[in-house]
Symmetry: C2
Subunit: 279 residues, 2 copies
């Protein structure tokens, strides 16, 4: 596995692969890798000749009051996991090289990124689209693999790819869960023992909302109340819960499939998100 630390080196390597007719898949990550990431790597390996994992805790997608400093980092462990998973190159740029002091160009998705996490975390998706554009430009992937756990992110990236004509096929892979249903997330490492006990309430609430939907409930507010009640019972603090169209991420009083029930909650001081399809 090659370790690549600058955009220029990444571009040179990617150009050599392309000239050799190799197809490249990219798995963008912020490191602290878990089995969810490794499932994306497996998909990447199946879809292309070369798999690149990017590892970059992107400061611009964290708000000033958020957990950038506390975000889990384990680059040695990440390197070993990637090597073992058959990754061809780990692209691990330095923050100072990614954002010059007079950095002034941003990619902004202005519709799908407005609500849900976009409302809770102003500026978050601007940071995401900007860094993903940079990764796409550095790696030039044929395919990029994202996780369904970050449902809104996946839709925003798909829209960016369409709008800006990126020659990249986006694959959104199913959420990987712990035995008790908790969606795998690097932030799970930060949960206290008590918060870890509470955390499965997020998935449990979403499942109960999906059951209610499958039993005929079509009122968005009623479905949202199911999730909120489950989180409240577990002692978690709800950030948001919403049922939205999967095409537009807009909420209507009456749910029309394909829809998404999505929620964010604080378990102690750790904010987790999860979602399920309503079809």
């Amino acid at each position: 596995m090659t370790l690549i630390e600058s955009a220029r080196d990444m571009q040179g390597q990617a150009q050599a692969w392309r000239r050799a007719g190799r197809r490249i898949a990219l798995v963008p990550t912020m490191g602290a890798l878990h089995d969810g990431h490794l499932s994306l790597v497996r998909i990447a390996r199946a879809e292309a000749d070369i798999t690149v994992v990017s590892l970059f805790v992107n400061p611009t997608q964290f708000g000033p009051a958020e957990d950038f400093a506390a975000y889990p980092r384990d680059s040695d462990g990440d390197r070993r996991l990637c090597e073992a998973a058959g990754v061809d190159a780990l692209y691990h740029p330095a923050a100072a090289a990614m954002y010059a002091e007079d950095f002034s160009t941003w990619v902004n998705e202005e519709s799908l990124s407005r609500d849900l996490c976009g409302a809770s975390r102003p500026g978050h998706f601007r940071g995401v689209t900007t860094v993903v554009a940079k990764l796409f430009n550095a790696v030039g992937p044929d395919v990029a693999v994202f996780g369904q756990k970050d449902a809104q992110q996946a839709l925003v990236i798909e829209r960016m790819v369409r709008d800006l004509d990126y020659p990249v096929r986006v694959i959104v892979a199913p959420t990987v869960r712990e035995a008790d249903g908790l969606a795998m997330s690097s932030r799970n490492r930060r949960l206290s023992a008590e918060a870890r006990q509470q955390a499965p309430a997020l998935y449990r609430g979403l499942c109960r909302a999906r059951e209610a939907f499958e039993n005929g409930e079509r009122r968005a507010a009623a479905l949202e109340a199911v999730v909120a009640a489950e989180l409240r019972a577990a002692g978690a603090r709800l950030d948001y819960v919403t049922v939205v169209s999967r095409r537009t991420l807009r909420r209507g009083e009456t749910v029309v499939a394909p829809a998404l029930v999505a929620a964010a909650a604080f378990l102690g001081d750790v904010r987790l998100i999860d979602n399920l399809f309503l079809d």
Copy 2:
């Protein structure tokens, strides 16, 4: 010469060239080609194996009160000129394909694009950076050639390339002028006979400001007054004239090289721009 009308076809063609080891140069244009464009094509041909000219009158870089509808269009003439100039492919996408009805992703340069034309034409540079990002993603050029006549545009694009890690070398080519000094521009076709007589005052004023600079004048306001006086004498309406740093596009009372004297003026209802280096 190949005519290509969709981003997908452009990407397929470009990928085939890259796999064959060919280097690609892009000359982005809005058509109504003149000798200035053809000078960019000559540079492109010298710098790469394949020259692509894009022809797209980009609606998003025109304000609602601007000349999008009146902008000169001559796609048959453009095609003949490109063919004769040895262009390999003309990328000529349709506006509806470039901007979906629910288009929502924009590339925004927020520093260099603020003043000069950015102040006179709100939203202009957002349209420019967005469409150039799309062209870069469709063509995947190794080199892109822009004209120095649009000095601010060139700096904004260079900044975008740096910030977003585009693997593209930007070349900024000298302004090509008519015998009387008027910078070549597609908009010159729209000048009335009277306005055409007045138009060389723009370059003449810039030249006189440069002479004053070379004779030791370092007060920005004094240099700007020289340009304004020349335009006023010719009966043209000044939009702006400013002396700025060529690195930051910021104005200071005292001029420090490398600087730029840049102006925009209305000749009749046609807005023209021009600029000169102060070194």
